[in-house]
C-alpha cells in the first residue's frame, strides 16, 4: 500500500476531510461551452470568510487543498488566499485557465510553494480552443502562462476535456503537454450543470469515440488491463464506498455552502451559519451519505461492473438518488468493457437522459 493510500485509509477511518476544494468565485473571463457552473458572482465570501474557512479546514486535518472557480484569479485577493493557505502548510493546487498569469504571477506561485497549477487546454489549434472558451486569444495566453510557470519551476498539469468540438485533438494536446514538459490528463466526459440542466451533456463525445479513447494506449496505458471486465466482488468492495466525496473530501462554494464534492450538489450546511467542523461531523446529509456502502446500492451492488466502476454518487444524486446508478458511469463501464451494466439491462432503463452517449 502506498503512503497516499495509507493516508486515505486512515483519514476515512478517522472521518478526516483530508482533501478540500474551494471555489473562491464562480465568475470567469471565459465562457466555456461545456461549463457546469453559472457565472453568478453574488454574495461571494469575503477574504476574511475564505481565510476563516481555510483555517477551519486546517483545524479539521485537511492537507490537500484545491483553489478553483470560475476563474480564481479574477479575485484580487487570490494570491493572498493562496499564500495564507501555504502559511497553514496546505498542499495547494490552483485550477485556472491561466490567461492572467504572467512572469510576476508565476514567480509568486513558485515562491509560495504551490504544488501544481492545473490548466484546461482543449486543443492545440487556437480556432478550436478559443471557440470552446469563447475568449479570443485564450489558447495563446494559456500556453504563454504555462511557459512562464515552467520557467519558474512550477509544476503544471494540462487537462484536456473532450467534447464533440475537439474529439480528435486528444493526442495532439498530449503531445503539446509532452513538448512543454508538463503533466497531461484527459477527461472524456461532460457532466451536467450543477443547477440540474443536462443540456450541455449534448456536447459530449459519442459512445464510439468514448470506446476509442478507452482503447488508446497513450491515454489509458495497458488497454487489455484497462478494458478487461472484472467480476470478482468481495466483501471489501461491498463494504466500501463509491468514492471519497463526503468521506475524506469536501467542497465549499463561493458563498460558503458545503457539499460532499463539486459534482455532488447535496447541500450540507453553510459556513455563514455553522462551523465547518459542525457541518462535517453533524450534518444529516453527510451522515446519510456515509451510511451508504456499495452493498446498499439496490441496482449497482449486483452489477457485473461493481468491482471497478467509477460510479459517481453525485451524478446519481443529480439523476434522482445517491443510491441509484449514474447513467454516465454505466456508459463508461460499457464503453470500456463492451458489457452493459445492470441498470442498462433493467426493464425500466431508458437512455434518453444520456444524450451524450448515443448508440452509433
Amino acid at each position: 500500500m502506498s503512503l497516499l493510500e495509507e493516508m486515505n485509509r486512515k483519514a476515512t477511518a478517522q472521518g478526516i476531510p483530508l482533501s478540500a476544494h474551494i471555489d473562491i468565485t464562480w465568475r470567469c473571463n471565459e465562457r466555456c461551452v461545456h461549463c457546469y457552473l453559472d457565472h453568478d458572482g453574488k454574495d461571494e465570501m469575503s477574504t476574511a470568510e475564505i481565510k476563516d474557512a481555510i483555517r477551519q479546514l486546517a483545524d479539521c486535518g485537511t492537507f490537500f487543498l484545491s483553489i478553483s472557480g470560475g476563474e480564481p484569479l479574477l479575485r484580487r485577493d487570490c494570491f493572498e488566499i493562496l499564500e495564507y493557505a501555504r502559511e497553514l502548510r496546505f498542499n495547494v493546487k490552483l485550477k485556472t485557465n491561466a490567461v492572467m498569469i504572467g512572469t510576476k504571477e508565476a514567480a509568486r506561485l513558485k515562491k509560495m510553494g504551490i504544488e501544481q497549477v492545473q490548466i484546461s487546454i482543449y486543443s492545440h489549434r487556437p480556432e478550436i480552443h478559443d471557440a470552446i472558451t469563447k475568449l479570443p486569444g485564450s489558447l495563446r495566453r494559456s500556453l504563454e502562462a504555462i511557459r512562464h510557470l515552467t520557467a519558474q519551476g512550477v509544476k503544471v498539469s494540462i487537462t484536456n476535456v473532450l467534447m464533440k468540438q475537439n474529439a480528435a485533438n486528444g493526442k495532439a494536446v498530449q503531445q503539446l503537454a509532452r513538448d512543454m514538459g508538463v503533466e497531461f490528463a484527459i477527461d472524456p466526459i461532460i457532466t451536467p450543470m450543477l443547477n440540474g440542466d443536462w443540456s450541455i451533456t449534448n456536447l459530449g463525445i459519442s459512445s464510439k469515440e468514448l470506446e476509442e479513447v478507452f482503447r488508446t494506449e497513450e491515454f489509458v496505458g495497458n488497454v487489455g488491463e484497462f478494458c478487461a471486465p472484472v467480476s470478482n466482488v468481495d466483501d471489501n468492495v461491498l463494504d466500501g464506498y463509491s468514492c471519497s466525496a463526503g468521506h475524506t473530501l469536501a467542497y465549499i462554494s463561493p458563498t460558503g455552502d458545503v457539499f460532499p464534492c463539486v459534482q455532488f450538489p447535496m447541500p450540507c450546511g453553510s459556513l455563514r451559519q455553522k462551523t465547518f467542523r459542525d457541518i462535517w461531523y453533524r450534518s444529516e446529509a453527510l451522515t446519510e451519505l456515509r451510511s451508504v456502502h456499495v452493498r446498499d446500492l439496490p441496482t449497482c451492488s449486483h452489477c457485473s461492473h461493481t468491482a471497478y466502476c467509477s460510479r459517481c454518487p453525485g451524478l446519481a444524486y443529480m439523476e434522482g438518488s445517491m443510491r441509484g446508478p449514474s447513467s454516465i458511469d454505466c456508459a463508461k463501464s460499457e464503453a470500456r468493457t463492451g458489457i452493459p451494466s445492470a441498470w442498462q439491462l433493467s426493464p425500466g432503463y431508458s437512455s434518453s437522459k444520456l444524450v451524450q452517449i448515443r448508440l452509433a
Binding site: 493516508m7 483519514a11 498542499n91 495547494v92 504544488e115
Partner: protein
C-alpha cells in the same frame, strides 16, 4: 569543550498536517511524501528553530515514549538526517530565526 548543539526548523518548502498522532509531510520541491510516526511527529512539532535536539529528546521523546536517551538520540539523529537530506528539516548548530 561541549559538543555543538543541533537546532531544527521546519522548511518553508513543505506541506504538513498532523492526523491523530501521526504527521504527513510533503516536499513542495520534489513531492516526496513522508508519514511521521508518533515519535517523529513529536520531534517535528518541537522543531521550532530554538529548542536544541538534545532537549527535544530529553523533554519530549524520552518523557513521552519511555525510551533511554542513548537509543532515542540515535533514532532521532537518523530521523533528522533523513528529513534534512530531503530538505524537509533545516539543521544548524545555532538557533534558526523563524
Amino acid at each position: 569543550m561541549p559538543l555543538a548543539e543541533t537546532y531544527l526548523a521546519k522548511s518553508t518548502d513543505i506541506a504538513a498536517r498532523t492526523l491523530g498522532d501521526e504527521t504527513i509531510v510533503m516536499s513542495t520541491l520534489d513531492s516526496t511524501i513522508f508519514m511521521l510516526n508518533p515519535t517523529g511527529s513529536v520531534i517535528w512539532e518541537a522543531a521550532d528553530g530554538n529548542t536544541p535536539l538534545s532537549r527535544i529528546i530529553e523533554k519530549r521523546v524520552c518523557a513521552e515514549f519511555d525510551v533511554p536517551v542513548e537509543q532515542a538520540s540515535a533514532d532521532a539523529q537518523d530521523f533528522v538526517d533523513q528529513l534534512a537530506k530531503h530538505g524537509i528539516l533545516v539543521v544548524s548548530d545555532r538557533p534558526i530565526p523563524q
